[in-house]
Structures are given as structure tokens and as C-alpha cells.
């Protein structure tokens, strides 16, 4: 029983981590129909930025508590700098090209960013573990968890909720939904699609960076940390149904729980479980759990 509780808690923590990363990915896909391979690089950028900024802050003996704020600031900075740079500087010249071409553009971008990161931060690991242990720990199912883990859960819920609310209740959000539903019609209706693309991509990038920034204190920030998360995030988004918010949430939850169950009860299969889940979901729901509705052709 206690082990089962542990499965739930571990699963929940892992899910929120996944969701934070997948959220930006699914948002960008939903609006721009770009499956962004470089998403992982933005995650890494966020981690590096956070690690060096918080490191600087603490080394100068400032209040450790403020480091949480700095994590977020670092991520947002990455978002508002890298996002527009990439969207205006590269992607906007590619719109209208095939989805796969766009996928490859972002793949090229991913390769480039890998080295850019290396040129800026080198290959040595960065640590900022202080924020992780700062808040102390709590015992659940006679296991110790740092409170920080639950901050991650909180942020994930917050981010998801915020995006959902914006889409549902603000005018801009409704317009965005229109763009998601049908780009051509929205254009015809005079919606400034390119502005929405810019905003969406920036927000998506920032979300990836936040994911990275909040992960930084729990890991050693090293080259290549972005590679592994890409395909994970893809799996989550595809399971949920591309471009679907609740899909990403459900996908993250499923993957998170399945993985943590595997770790607790059957560690041998950890390697497959995510892809098996993805394959199974696609076999039974070919377009993911929350598939977009098909329009009648003739």
C-alpha cells in the first residue's frame, strides 16, 4: 500500500516535469503545426541560464530564497530572447512548407544550438542544488521528498491552468483557438496570424526554458541534456493528441505513472514502457487520445 502511494507520488512528480516540457511543444504544434525538435535545446538553454544566474546570485552572498525568482526570470529571459530570434529570424520564412520540412528545420536548429550552448558554457557541469534542498523535506509513505518536488507540481498545474484560461476566456485566446482550428479562415477573417505565431512560439520557448530552469537544481547541467527530453515530450504529445492541451496533461500523467509503476514493480522494463504506451495508444486511438475532429471531404 505504501509502495503504491509512492508510485503515485513519484509518478505525479515525473508527470508534472514532463507536462511542463510537453505543454510548450503541443501549444506550438497546435498553432503553428511545427513539431519543434529544438524544444529540447530551449529546455537546456533554460537550465544553463538558470544555473549560471542563480550561481552568480548565491556566490555574491545574496538571499538564497530569491533564487526561485531568479530561476523563473532566467527562463523567461531565454524565452523572450531566443523565441522571437528564432521565429522572426528563421521560421517565418518557412511557413507554408511541408510539416516534415519544418520538422527538419528545427532539427537543424537543434544541432546548431547544441554547439552554441557548448560555445557559451563549455562542457563542464553546472550545479545549483541550493534551491532543491532549501525548503526542507516532507515524509510521505515513509519516504522523504524535498518540498521542491511539489513546487514543480504546482508550477506545472499553474502553467497548464493559465494557458487553458487564456485560451478559454480572453479575446486573444479565442482568436488563437480560431487560428488553431483553421489558419486560412482566420487569415480571411483578418486575424493577424503572424503576430500570434510570434507570441505562441515565444511562450512555447519560455515554457520549455522554465521546464529546464526548474530542473536545473535537481540535476547536473551538462551538454546533451536536451536530447533525451525531446523524444519523451514527443511521446507525451502524441499520446495525448497533437496540439491538445488536455491531451498533453493526460499523456504526461499516463507516461509518468506507467514509468514510476515500472520502476517500482518491474525495473527491467523501464526502457520500453514509454514507447510501448505510445505504440499501444496509437494502435487503439490512431490520432492520440484527444484527436482533432476530421472534416467531411466530399
Amino acid at each position: 500500500m505504501t509502495e503504491f502511494l509512492a508510485v503515485l507520488v513519484d509518478g505525479l512528480i515525473y508527470s508534472s516535469w514532463l507536462f511542463l516540457i510537453a505543454l510548450g511543444l503541443t501549444l506550438i504544434y497546435g498553432v503553428m503545426k511545427i513539431l519543434n525538435m529544438a524544444h529540447g535545446s530551449f529546455y537546456a538553454l533554460g537550465a544553463y541560464a538558470a544555473a549560471s544566474m542563480v550561481g552568480y546570485w548565491l556566490n555574491h552572498g545574496h538571499a538564497p530564497m530569491a533564487s526561485y525568482g531568479i530561476l523563473i526570470i532566467a527562463a523567461v529571459l531565454v524565452g523572450v530572447i531566443a523565441g522571437p530570434l528564432v521565429e522572426r529570424g528563421l521560421l517565418r520564412f518557412m511557413y507554408g512548407r511541408d510539416e516534415m520540412v519544418l520538422l527538419l528545420v528545427t532539427y537543424a536548429l537543434f544541432l546548431i544550438l547544441e554547439d552554441v550552448i557548448k560555445l557559451i558554457w563549455g562542457v563542464d557541469p553546472y550545479f545549483v542544488s541550493e534551491p532543491y534542498s532549501l525548503l526542507g523535506t516532507i515524509d510521505i509513505a515513509n519516504l522523504t521528498y524535498p518540498y521542491y518536488n511539489f513546487i514543480l507540481v504546482g508550477v506545472a498545474v499553474l502553467a497548464g491552468g493559465a494557458v487553458a484560461l487564456v485560451l478559454q476566456y480572453t479575446r486573444q485566446g479565442k482568436l488563437l483557438l480560431a487560428v488553431i482550428h483553421d489558419r486560412e479562415v482566420s487569415l480571411a477573417m483578418g486575424i493577424n496570424v503572424s503576430r500570434f505565431y510570434l507570441v505562441t512560439f515565444t511562450v512555447g520557448t519560455a515554457l520549455a526554458a522554465i521546464g529546464g530552469a526548474l530542473t536545473a537544481p535537481t540535476v547536473s547541467v551538462v551538454p546533451g541534456m536536451g536530447v533525451e527530453v525531446i523524444v519523451l515530450a514527443f511521446a507525451v504529445v502524441v499520446i495525448g493528441g497533437l496540439g491538445s492541451l488536455q491531451g498533453a496533461a493526460l499523456g504526461a500523467l499516463i507516461v509518468g505513472l506507467v514509468r514510476s509503476a515500472a520502476v517500482h514493480y518491474l525495473p527491467q522494463v523501464e526502457l520500453f514502457c514509454i514507447y510501448t504506451v505510445m505504440a499501444l495508444v496509437l494502435i487503439f486511438r490512431p490520432k492520440g487520445l484527444f484527436a482533432a475532429a476530421e472534416v467531411r471531404k466530399i
Binding site: 516535469w17 562542457v123 550545479f127 519516504l143 536530447v227 520502476v263 517500482h264
Partner: protein
């Protein structure tokens, strides 16, 4: 012409001195052609930080000193028999398919190759080295399969296999925790992790037949998130947790596990822990058992050579001490130098002489004596050292340091490591 004469003169004088100080004779003339040494090590990806770059930097320090001559204690002759060493460095990232291709390209440009951290790459390169008749020195990769599955003429490995890491760790654990009943493991889900865990468990089964395996965790390589694994380790109630994690994964594991009290509940053995120690510093809890894949870094002997190496390295790279990959790279270069000068060859042309004198060679590295004792004289054997972390104020020290002589932790010639362990370490 004038220049040439002065060259000869200088060379003769130089040679004369050499005769006095050592048996190594650098004969004039040919001694000026540089020997091109290809160095293959991770410059990108996750293995660059902990292994690739420290190794590369060590190569640069050593070559600089060797070419200058008279700096490296015990290796005073310039370069290789007076011939300067020229490094050609390429990235090891990208998988075996790409590495074999790059190895073939590199082989055209250099006289010999030193490199390879990934066991997969080592296995793939091995037959190609013999095919191209290109002297190739593996400096770090751990799998014993290289010389167990086959034997090669042009291939050498100046670092010991990973067998001794885990055999010795198991012995150390048993000696220091005689009461242990349950062991657990967390290892990356790939060949390195699997082999390490298997050797550790096999040794345990021999030393403590009734030991129970609480859980064996297999996170994916570079997954970075170990929450669930740590929970499972915590609830497993194991006395000892074995991990062959390296680099970022190892550091992430420590950062995530120590606030959750895993290091208090059980004794953690990190067989590759050393690479992270300098950066992790106080993050690493007291009582953690750390190995360095040999007598390297903090476990290195207090020899003149080692003192020089540490100083030279730290001077060049802003006070960062060399970690075991640096030591192993230095070891490879010194092995090469010894063999080269023992064979008295003048030019890379007669490489076969170098190879002949490399076989069964014994030489001094910053980590102490290295003997090319296995694989028909192509595979190095070395003693193993393990210790336990103890913080002295803000300073990390290592207590209860145990040395394991080579023959206690490595199988005899012609016996596969796993069979040797299962046989109860028969000699």
C-alpha cells in the same frame, strides 16, 4: 646548410647527455620528423565534461612537456626519441558507425591513434586497427571483451578493464560491512551498467553467498530524473547501493538522493564517483565509497611523476585537478613513449619494432606501475584503490583507503572475467 650543421651539432651534444642520464639514445637527423598522434575523445555530448575534455587536456599538458624535454620526471628525453609529438584531436561522439568511418579517415593522417572512452567504439575499432596495421592505444574504455573475444597485433590498452572496479568494490564493501544482508543497484541501462552490476553481484555471491538483492534499478542512460528509482532504493532497505553511474547522471543522482536521505539509510558505492568529486565537493555525503577506476587522482601514489603531473595540469587549467581520465591519457602517452624509446626506432616507418617492445612492457605512470600483462601483452593490468569520503571542515578527504594488488582483482591470462569470478577467483 649552415642550419643543418648546427642541427647535427646540437643533436650530437644532446645525444651525449642522454647517454649519461639514460639508456635511451636519440640518434641525430631523423629525430626531427614529428610523430603525428591522433587523439579520439569526447568533445561533445554528455561524456565530454567528465571524460573527454579532461583526457584531451592531459594529452596537451603531457605532449607540451614531453616535446620540451627534461620536464617529466623519469621521461627526460625530448618527444619520442627526440621526435616531437604532434596531436590531431577529433570528437568521439556519434556512435560506432561514424567512429569507424572517422577512424579510417584519421588513420590516413596520423602515425598512430590514442583514444576511445566508449566500449562500443573500442570493440568496433579493434579489428580495423589490425586491418590498417595502425598502432592504436585504447586509453579508457572498460569492457574486458576487447582482448577476451579476440587478440590483436596493433591494438593495445594501457588502462585496466572495468572488472577490477566492481570486484574490488565488492571486496571493499564486504570487508567494511561484514554484517550486510541486502544489496541494491542503480546502473544505467546499457552495456557498461549491466557489466558493472553483473561483476559486482557475481563477486558478492562468491564472498557472501547468502546476500539478498533488494532491487536492481535500470534507468535509461542520461535520463537525469531518478525520483522513482530513489524511492524504490529507499524502501528496499538495502545495506549497500552499488552504482556505476558516471558524469552528469552520477552527479544528478547524488544531488537528488542525498536530500532524500539515501546516503544515511544505506552505504552507496560509486565506482566512477571520482570524476564528480571536485565539482560536487560538499554535496557528496560522508561515508560514500568512491572508486577512481584505478590508482588515480586522490588515490595516486605520492611519486615525483604524480606530483609533477598534478601541478602541471592544475597550472595550465586554472587549478582544476586532473581526474582519472586525465591520468589514463597520461598513462597511454607514457606507455607509448616507453615502448618507442625501448625499441630505439627512428621513424614511425618501423612501427613493428615499437609494437614488439610494447608487448609485456612495464612502465611508470602518474598512477604508478603499469604492466601490459594480459591479452598476450596488449592489455594493461594495474592495482585498484578504494576509499570512503570524510569531510574535514570544508575539505573532502578519503579515509580507510584500501589497495588491491593487480593479481587479486584481475583474471589470469586466457580466462574470461566472469568465469574467473564465478570460479571463486581461481589463479
Amino acid at each position: 646548410m649552415q642550419r643543418n650543421a648546427s642541427h647535427v651539432l646540437r643533436a650530437v651534444l644532446f645525444a651525449f647527455c642522454l647517454v649519461l642520464v639514460s639508456t635511451m639514445v636519440a640518434t641525430p637527423g631523423a629525430a626531427q620528423q614529428p610523430v603525428k598522434v591522433g587523439v579520439v575523445t569526447f568533445l561533445s555530448g554528455a561524456a565530454a565534461g567528465p571524460f573527454g575534455v579532461p583526457a584531451k587536456q592531459a594529452a596537451e599538458v603531457m605532449v607540451e612537456a614531453l616535446n620540451a624535454g627534461g620536464k617529466v620526471p623519469g621521461y627526460h628525453a625530448k618527444g619520442l626519441n627526440g621526435a616531437p609529438i604532434e596531436l590531431v584531436i577529433i570528437d568521439e561522439a556519434g556512435g560506432t558507425t561514424k567512429q569507424v568511418t572517422e577512424y579510417r579517415n584519421l588513420a590516413q593522417r596520423v602515425d598512430l591513434v590514442i583514444g576511445y572512452i566508449s566500449s562500443g567504439d573500442c570493440l568496433a575499432i579493434a579489428p580495423v586497427a589490425d586491418e590498417l596495421k595502425k598502432l592504436t592505444i585504447l586509453f579508457d574504455c572498460g569492457t574486458p571483451r576487447v582482448f577476451e573475444d579476440a587478440s590483436y597485433k596493433y591494438l593495445f590498452r594501457t588502462g585496466a578493464t572495468s572488472t577490477m572496479d566492481n570486484v574490488a568494490s565488492a571486496m571493499y564493501v564486504v570487508e567494511n560491512k561484514p554484517g550486510l544482508k541486502k544489496i541494491a543497484g542503480i546502473n544505467q541501462n546499457y552495456a557498461w551498467g549491466q557489466d558493472s552490476w553483473n561483476d559486482f553481484v557475481a563477486t558478492m555471491k562468491v564472498l557472501k553467498p547468502n546476500v539478498e538483492i533488494a532491487t536492481a534499478q535500470w534507468p535509461q542512460l542520461l535520463s537525469g530524473q531518478y525520483g522513482a528509482e530513489i524511492s524504490s532504493l529507499l524502501s528496499s532497505g538495502a545495506d549497500v547501493v552499488h552504482s556505476s553511474f558516471w558524469g552528469g547522471d552520477m552527479e544528478a543522482f547524488v544531488l537528488q538522493a542525498s536530500p532524500r536521505g539515501l546516503f544515511k539509510k544505506s552505504t552507496v558505492v560509486l565506482t566512477c564517483g571520482e570524476t564528480g568529486m571536485y565539482k560536487l565537493g560538499n554535496q557528496i555525503p560522508d561515508g560514500t565509497i568512491i572508486a577512481a577506476r584505478g590508482p588515480f587522482d586522490m588515490y595516486a601514489p605520492d611519486s615525483e611523476l604524480n606530483r609533477w603531473f598534478r601541478k602541471a595540469y592544475m597550472d595550465k587549467f586554472g587549478g582544476v585537478p586532473p581526474s582519472y581520465p586525465s591520468y589514463k591519457m597520461a598513462q597511454a602517452l607514457l606507455g607509448l613513449k616507453s615502448a618507442w624509446e625501448k625499441s630505439k626506432v627512428q621513424s614511425p616507418a618501423d612501427m613493428d619494432k615499437v609494437i614488439a617492445s610494447f608487448e609485456h612492457l612495464t612502465f611508470e605512470g602518474p598512477g604508478g606501475k603499469v604492466t601490459m600483462g594480459l591479452g598476450k601483452g596488449h592489455q594493461a593490468v594495474q592495482g585498484m584503490v578504494i576509499g570512503t569520503v570524510k569531510h574535514e571542515g570544508s575539505k573532502v578527504t578519503y579515509v580507510n583507503v584500501k589497495h588491491y594488488p593487480a593479481d587479486k582483482v584481475t583474471p589470469p591470462e586466457g580466462v574470461k572475467a566472469e568465469d574467473w569470478i564465478k570460479s571463486g577467483f581461481k589463479k
